[in-house]
């Protein structure tokens, strides 16, 4: 971890009509750091993720990102071409629903290879070799490379989505409830995979989850949101073991101990 932040949010606000999506959120994510955003449904965590990833436009505030050349760029000043290039090379986005993050009618190999072709890979053999390598890393058998994700289980789809996102070696990955909707045993495998890939690749991750166990396992730091605001931040174990805010105490005490 270096001292220069990779992603910086300042005073981010977004309303949906009279309803508050996000209010005055400030945070920084550093290279190699996993930041968990927790809170219950409607707390604004998904809105925050949308704002950070520029999929949503803030009403106020800004998001800046340290480009590969070292300059910190206000993302709203980037043109659409530059922003999209960023999203398909330097960033990843793992969505809760694999249907939203995968091309369901395209083979597993094509799903993984798409980002490579998008950045100019034009050698079929190389693309396929890279796809095979990534399928192995996410524990998908090589003989499934030509199957499309409709034939995959939920856990496999999620692992495929991770491979599809990581193939261009992004520096920052957004994850929106990546284990939501999976069986517990499947969740454990996915979490372990994410944990080891994050450590191995030195990824910075912003992960939105309502599952505090996921946050504890994966994240270094944590942000607790309620009613669109960040109400508590700190080291993950600090926030979970010594929560200060009434709402955080309620969240932590509501978890069933396994």
């Amino acid at each position: 971890m270096t001292d220069q932040p990779l992603l910086v949010a300042e005073g981010l606000s977004k309303n949906y009509g009279a309803r508050i999506g996000c209010r005055d959120v400030c945070l920084a994510v550093h290279p190699g750091e996993v930041l968990a955003v927790v809170g219950e449904s409607g707390s604004g965590k998904s809105t925050l993720l949308g704002l950070l990833s520029t999929e949503l436009t803030p009403d106020a505030g800004r998001v800046s990102y340290r480009m590969r050349d070292g300059r910190l760029a206000d993302l709203s000043t980037l043109g659409p071409a530059e922003r999209r290039l960023l999203m398909r090379t330097d960033w990843g986005f793992v969505r809760q629903s694999p249907e939203a993050g995968l091309r369901m009618a395209v083979s597993a190999g094509g799903n993984v290879g798409e980002r490579l072709m998008a950045v100019g890979w034009r050698h079929y053999g190389d693309i396929r070799a890279e796809a095979l390598d990534w399928l192995a890393r996410v524990e998908i058998a090589a003989d499934r490379i030509d199957d499309d994700p409709r034939a995959f289980s939920g856990g496999m789809r999620q692992r495929l989505q991770i491979a599809r996102n990581l193939v261009t070696r992004p520096r920052l990955v957004f994850m929106d409830e990546p284990t939501g909707g999976l069986d517990v045993s499947v969740q454990a495998r996915l979490l372990d995979l994410v944990r080891s890939l994050v450590a191995e690749l030195g990824l910075a991750v912003v992960i939105v989850t309502h599952d505090l166990a996921v946050a504890r396992l994966l994240s270094h730091r944590m942000v607790v949101m309620r009613h669109g605001r960040v109400i508590e931040t700190g080291l993950t174990d600090q926030v979970l073991d010594d929560p200060r805010e009434a709402y955080t105490q309620l969240l932590v005490s509501s978890v069933l101990a396994a």
Binding site: M1, R189, H220, L235
Partner: protein, 232 residues
């Protein structure tokens, strides 16, 4: 000699919002020092705040007032006010923690759990695994268990994995919370030996040792936590 750890004016009160804002004082104005190569026990009856104090030093519990200054090579880091990322760095290289219970990570083998701190220090995985195996062998953990995730291990087996993970890498400051609670006499002796080696290497140890035999064997002095009790 500058202390490894210097605690001063440390106060902490839990506020339990779910119980109408009830206040649960832990310590008030706590202060002590720890020097390299010594092992200091936190003493006092159950509920005196030993464990909470240890967790505050580690940064796991937050503090209301006071300082926890830890020497990190040529810098002094105040855990009470440090930026979370500074704390992560402090934990990564300087301050180790051996907790009472192993926090099990799904699907990771006992050997990898133990080797992980070394890998984090940049030691090649192969060498780290060899050293992890040697330590587990010394702690009498049967080799057939090494490749298994510790989730299904007995309490004693889990604790030995935990101790091995906590002691395998060199950390100048070690915090230990009841490291021998569920161990038999033979394994207690192994742990005593390991702690002696750490002390000889200049490591400062702050711990909670309920077991009188272990405490008498390794501790140089005892800090009575009841002295720091807050006026409730």
């Amino acid at each position: 000699m500058t202390p490894l750890l210097s605690v001063s004016g440390l106060s902490k009160t839990f506020v339990l919002h779910l119980r109408g804002g009830a206040r649960l004082p832990v310590v008030a104005g706590a202060g002590f020092e720890l020097f390299p190569g010594e092992c200091v026990a936190l003493g006092g009856p159950s509920g005196a705040g030993k464990s909470s104090l240890l967790k505050m030093v580690y940064g796991n519990y937050r503090v209301d007032a006071g300082h926890i200054r830890v020497r990190d090579e040529d810098q002094i880091v105040d855990v009470a006010s440090a930026d979370p990322r500074r704390l992560i760095r402090l934990r990564a290289g300087t301050m180790g923690y051996v907790s009472q219970f192993l926090r099990v990570i799904p699907r990771v083998s006992a050997l990898d759990v133990v080797a992980e701190p070394l890998v984090g220090d940049g030691i090649p995985r192969e060498e780290a695994t060899v050293r992890a195996g040697a330590l587990l062998a010394r702690l009498n953990l049967p080799e057939r268990l090494w490749a298994l995730p510790p989730a299904t291990f007995s309490g004693g087996e889990q604790q030995r994995v935990n101790i091995a993970r906590g002691l395998i890498a060199h950390r100048p400051l070690l915090l230990m919370d009841e490291p021998t609670a569920s161990l038999d006499a033979a394994n207690r002796a192994v742990v005593i030996g390991l702690i002696e080696e750490k002390k000889a290497a200049g490591v400062g140890i702050l711990g909670i040792f309920h077991d009188a035999e272990v405490r008498d064997a390794v501790c140089d002095r005892v800090i009575d936590v009841t002295e720091f009790a807050a006026a409730a």
